[in-house]
C-alpha cells in the first residue's frame, strides 16, 4: 500500500510540471503585450514599461520566468496580477464560492444519479427505466447554457422562487439553482453508468449465490450489488469533482456567481497571465489529488484489489 502510494505520487510529479509548463507557455506566448495594454490608448514611457517588465520578470527568457514562478510557488507565493493585487488574494475570494457550488452540484448528481440509476438498473425495461433513459438522454442533449436559461425562466421569472441571478455568492440557498444546472449533465452520466453497471452485476455468480443463501433483498443490494457496481461510478465521480470546479465558466457567467470560472474568463480576456496560471495550478492539484483518492478508494470497495 505504502509503496503504491509513493509510486503514484512520483508519477504525479511530471504531470504536475508538464501541465503547469504547458499552461505557462500558452499564457505567456499569447499575442498582445499585457504591459502595453495597461496603458490603454496612451503611448507608454519606455522606461516605465521596462521597469514594469523587470518587476514581473517579463524581460527574462520564458524558461527562467517559469523556474522563478515555480520557485515562488513552493513558498506559497502565486505572484501578483498586473493590476497589483496578489493572486492568492484573488483566489481566496473566488475559490470558496466555487468549492461550495461544486460540492452542491456534486452531492446533487451523486445522490440523485445513484438513486435513478439504481431504480432503472434493478427494473430493466420497466416504465421507470424508460423514463430515466429518456430524461437522461434529454439532459445530455440540451447544452448547459440553454438549460441555464430554461431554469432561469421557469424558476425565477415564471414561478418567482428565486432571483434570476445570484445576489450573494456566499449564500448556499442562492447557489442551489446554479448547482443543479451545473450538475445535471454529470447526473445523467452517473445515472446511466450506475444503470449499466448494475445490469452487468445482476447476472454475476455471486448474486445468485447471495440469493441462494437466502439473504434478505436489502442486504443483497447494499452489500453485494451496490458495492461491486459502484467502482466505475466512483471513477467518474472522482474525476468529475475537478471538472465541476474548472468547468463552471458558463454556469457562473449566466447566474452571476462570483467564482473561479468568472475570474478565469475575465483573466484570459485581459491577458492576466499570473492569475490564469495560479488558478490553473490549483485546479491541476485538485484533479491529481482526486484521481489519487479514487485509486485508493478502489481497494475499499473491492477487496480483491490490493496494492502491494
Amino acid at each position: 500500500m505504502g509503496s503504491y502510494v509513493l509510486r503514484r505520487v512520483l508519477q504525479m510529479i511530471p504531470v504536475f510540471f508538464g501541465t503547469t509548463l504547458l499552461i505557462f507557455l500558452m499564457v505567456y506566448t499569447l499575442p498582445g503585450d499585457p504591459v502595453a495594454a495597461l496603458f490603454g490608448e496612451k503611448a507608454a514611457d519606455p522606461a516605465v514599461v521596462a521597469s514594469i517588465k523587470h518587476k514581473y520578470y517579463l524581460d527574462q527568457p520564458i524558461w527562467k520566468q517559469y523556474l522563478h514562478y515555480m520557485g515562488n510557488l513552493f513558498q506559497g507565493d502565486f505572484g501578483t496580477s498586473f493590476t497589483g493585487r496578489p493572486v492568492t488574494d484573488i483566489m481566496a475570494g473566488a475559490f470558496p464560492v466555487t468549492i461550495r457550488l461544486a460540492l452542491l452540484a456534486f452531492v446533487f448528481e451523486m445522490i440523485l444519479g445513484l438513486v435513478l440509476g439504481l431504480v432503472s438498473g434493478l427494473r430493466r425495461g420497466s416504465v421507470q427505466d424508460t423514463l430515466v433513459l429518456i430524461l437522461t438522454l434529454l439532459v445530455i442533449s440540451v447544452p448547459v447554457f440553454v438549460l441555464a436559461y430554461i431554469a432561469q425562466t421557469v424558476f425565477a421569472t415564471n414561478l418567482g422562487w428565486v432571483t434570476p441571478t445570484v445576489q450573494n455568492s456566499y449564500d448556499l440557498s442562492q447557489l442551489m439553482l446554479p448547482a443543479i444546472v451545473l450538475g445535471s449533465l454529470s447526473l445523467a452520466y452517473v445515472a446511466r453508468l450506475t444503470r449499466t453497471s448494475i445490469g452487468e452485476n445482476l447476472r454475476a455468480d455471486y448474486m445468485r449465490t447471495a440469493v441462494a443463501k437466502g439473504l434478505p433483498r436489502r442486504t443483497i443490494i447494499s452489500r453485494h450489488l451496490l458495492r461491486n457496481s459502484l467502482i466505475p461510478v466512483v471513477t467518474f465521480l472522482g474525476t468529475d469533482l475537478g471538472a465541476l470546479m474548472g468547468g463552471a465558466i458558463v454556469t457562473e457567467g449566466i447566474f452571476n456567481v462570483q467564482g473561479i470560472g468568472n475570474v478565469l474568463y475575465r483573466a484570459i480576456n485581459q491577458k492576466e497571465g499570473p492569475t490564469v496560471v495560479g488558478i490553473v495550478t490549483v485546479l491541476v492539484i485538485v484533479y491529481l489529488v482526486a484521481s489519487l483518492l479514487v485509486d485508493l478508494l478502489y481497494a475499499v470497495l473491492d477487496p480483491r484489489i490490493r496494492y502491494a
Binding site: Q11, P14, V15, G18, T19, L22, I23, M26, V27, T29, L30, P31, L137, L138, I140, S141, V142, P143, V144, F145, V146, Y149, T153, T157, T196, G199, E200, T239, G242, A243, M245, G246, G247, I249, V250, G253, L264, Y265, I268, V276, V280, L283, V284, Y287, L288
Partner: protein
C-alpha cells in the same frame, strides 16, 4: 473476436431469419463476425433509425442549405430592421432576430458549421487517439509511460479553459476548422486511453500468439489482428462524442471564442439572443431547440452503436 463468442451471438439470429441460413452454408465464417452481427442489431433498433434519419437530414441540410430556404442569409437585403424581433408567423416559422434577419434561414445555414466540427473533430480524435493508443499498448515500456503521462497532462487541464487558451493562440481562429483543431487537441487523450486498455487486454490472447507462431511481423499483428479486435470500444466512444463535440462547439461560440460573425453558428445565435431573452424568447429558443435535437440525434445514434457493439449489454 474468439470463436465461442461469435458463434453464440449468431446462433439465435440464424434460427430466426430464414435468409441467414442459406448464406451461412456458403460462407459460415463471414456471417458470424461481430460486425455483421452489429449491423443486423442496428437495423432493428428504433434509436438507430430515428437518429439516423435525423442525422441524414442534417447532413443534407448542411451540404445544400439552399434547398430548404428561399434566400441566403448573406445576401444583400437578407435582413430588414423593420422586422426586428417579429414573432413567428405562417410565412416566417421562426420569426425574426433583433437585426430583422429571418431566424429560420439563419438556423438552416448554421447547420453546416456544427456538422463540420462534429465530423472533423471526431475523425481526427479517433485516428490520432487510436494510432497512439495502439502504439503505446503494443510497445509498452518507456513509450507507454511517456504517452500516458502526456495524456494525463491533457486530462488535468479543464477543457473549456484549455480551449480558450489554445484558441487565442491560433493565427487562423474563428472558423469551424480552428474550433475542430482545438477540440481535437483536447479530445484525443480519451480515445487514447480506451484504445490502449483495449489493446492491453487483447495483446496476450491466443490469436496473437498464433499469428506470431505463423511468422507474422509486428506490423501485421498490430494492424491486421489486434486493431480490428480492439477497435470496438473506440468506435462506441467516438460515436457518442460526435454529439458532445457539436455541443462543445456551440459552447465555445457562445462564449465568443468559437466561430466568429459574420459566419453563422447556433451557439453564436443563442449568445446574441440572450440579452433580450425575456422580451423575445423565440430568438433564443429556436436555435437552441435545433441544436438540442442535433445533439440528441447523434447521441441516439451513438447509443445504438454501443448497444450493438458491447456484448456485455446483450
Amino acid at each position: 473476436m474468439s470463436d465461442t463468442i461469435t458463434k453464440d451471438a449468431s446462433a439465435p439470429a440464424g434460427d430466426n431469419s430464414p435468409k441467414a441460413t442459406p448464406a451461412k452454408k456458403e460462407k459460415p465464417e463471414r456471417v458470424a463476425s461481430l460486425w455483421s452481427d452489429a449491423v443486423r442489431d442496428l437495423r432493428r433498433n428504433p434509436l438507430f433509425i430515428i437518429g439516423g434519419v435525423l442525422v441524414l437530414a442534417l447532413i443534407v441540410i448542411s451540404i445544400v442549405p439552399g434547398w430548404f430556404t428561399d434566400g441566403s442569409p448573406f445576401a444583400n437585403g437578407a435582413c430588414d430592421l423593420s422586422h426586428s424581433l417579429e414573432r413567428p408567423s405562417a410565412e416566417h416559422w421562426f420569426g425574426y432576430d433583433v437585426q430583422g434577419c429571418d431566424i429560420y434561414t439563419r438556423t438552416v445555414w448554421g447547420a453546416r458549421n456544427s456538422i463540420i466540427v462534429g465530423i472533423l473533430t471526431t475523425t481526427t480524435v479517433t485516428v490520432v487517439g487510436a494510432l497512439l493508443g495502439l502504439w503505446a499498448g503494443w510497445k509498452g515500456g518507456v513509450i507507454d509511460s511517456i504517452l500516458s503521462r502526456i495524456t494525463e497532462i491533457f486530462f488535468s487541464i479543464p477543457t473549456l479553459l484549455g480551449g480558450m487558451l489554445i484558441m487565442s493562440m491560433l493565427p487562423f481562429a474563428g472558423n469551424a476548422y480552428s474550433v475542430s483543431l482545438v477540440m481535437a487537441v483536447l479530445g484525443w487523450p480519451q480515445i487514447f486511453r480506451i484504445m490502449r486498455a483495449s489493446v492491453l487486454s487483447n495483446k496476450n490472447n491466443d490469436y496473437v500468439m498464433a499469428a506470431r507462431a505463423l511468422g507474422a511481423g509486428a506490423g501485421r499483428i498490430t494492424f491486421r489482428h489486434i486493431l480490428p479486435n480492439a477497435i470496438a470500444p473506440v468506435i462506441v466512444v467516438a460515436a457518442i462524442s460526435l454529439g458532445v463535440f457539436i455541443g462543445a462547439e456551440a459552447a465555445l461560440s457562445y462564449l465568443g471564442i468559437g466561430v466568429q460573425p459574420p459566419q453563422i453558428s447556433w451557439g453564436l445565435m443563442i449568445s446574441d439572443a440572450q440579452v433580450r431573452f425575456l422580451a423575445a424568447p423565440h430568438v433564443l429558443l429556436f436555435p437552441a431547440a435545433v441544436l438540442s435535437v442535433t445533439v440528441l440525434a447523434f447521441i441516439m445514434l451513438g447509443d445504438a452503436v454501443r448497444d450493438a457493439l458491447d456484448p456485455k449489454l446483450r
